[in-house]
Symmetry: none
Subunit: 152 residues, 2 copies
DNA sequence: GGAGATTGTGGGAAATTGTGGGAAATTGAG
DNA sequence: CTCAATTTCCCACAATTTCCCACAATCTCC
């Protein structure tokens, strides 16, 4: 599995193109070629995957059978529905689909953040408020994480 | 795991480059190569890791699935927040990303402090006020540490 | 203490990267 | 079929980063 590192400030131009910082580009495995997958994130952000990691992600979905419940089917549909293939152009940029731009309310200033095998795309303003925690909340989160981790 | 020792005074030049004292450089395991990870610290400082140690830290995070809960995702984000890869150049320097310089308000005079497998980077002025404790406070802190430690 | 080696500091110049925009190609609507 | 809108491809300029060299400061060993 790929594990990306880094946080980058990028700009969207008026055409909705986002140039991928070379530091990040350099972390893509050879095999990526020029194709990535963008999808909606759970929060108000987008998520970039290598095609391979995306397939792993969808494989995870398929471990739960559609017969199970309407909600399962609905979740899968919504999750899969936002996914888009994007090509990296000659200037290291991708064209982000309009629908997704609107979903994440991306304007000009965008932050790319590595998160395991995913890369999240945030509007700068949104990102800053997401990261704005006081130490009380932080320690609460840490505790919660600790519990969840031990439960599996 | 690496365990660094020492406290060093360094200078940032106008390009934002920090030269790593040879005494510290000598403590890096061979395997480090020329790549380190810088991140924001909880306090107004930055933190340096070897890439390996950083991956170990984050591997813990990746054992918990993102589907789990919003809080999990938030915790991961806050934790990995400003991480950046940096390369050591031919003159034993790293280029500290502007964003992080601003965050820690680093000016010319910088202090590097070893702290387990991390190396903290402080602006000299900030560091001095951080260390400005009287003995009453010190013993109070020690007591608190002891309690927390026994609670787990 | 002095001479040579090593380390720290600064800056110039080349290479790379980021950004913008023009024009051709493609698509879709009427 | 034609026109408009979007997408793709390409080029060019600006900014940043990287690479390199040179000098200053410090350390080490004799």
């Amino acid at each position: 599995m790929t594990a990306f590192i880094g946080e980058f400030n990028c700009k969207l131009d008026e055409k909705g193109r986002l140039s991928i910082p070379s530091k990040l580009r350099a972390q893509f495995p050879e095999a990526v070629g020029n194709t990535l997958v963008v999808n909606r994130g759970f929060e108000k952000c987008l998520v970039l995957y290598t095609k391979e990691d995306w397939l792993d992600e969808t494989a995870k979905l398929n471990t739960v059978d559609d017969f199970m419940s309407p909600d399962i089917r609905r979740f899968k549909r919504i999750f899969t529905n936002g996914a888009n293939l994007v090509q990296i152009d000659g200037a290291q940029r991708i064209l982000v689909p309009k629908k997704l731009l609107e979903y994440a309310e991306l304007t000009a200033e965008v932050i790319l953040v590595a998160n395991g095998n995913k890369i999240e795309m945030w509007d700068q303003a949104t990102y800053e408020s997401e990261l704005n925690v006081d130490s009380a909340e932080m320690s609460q989160l840490a505790q919660m994480f600790h519990q969840q981790r031990n439960q599996g």
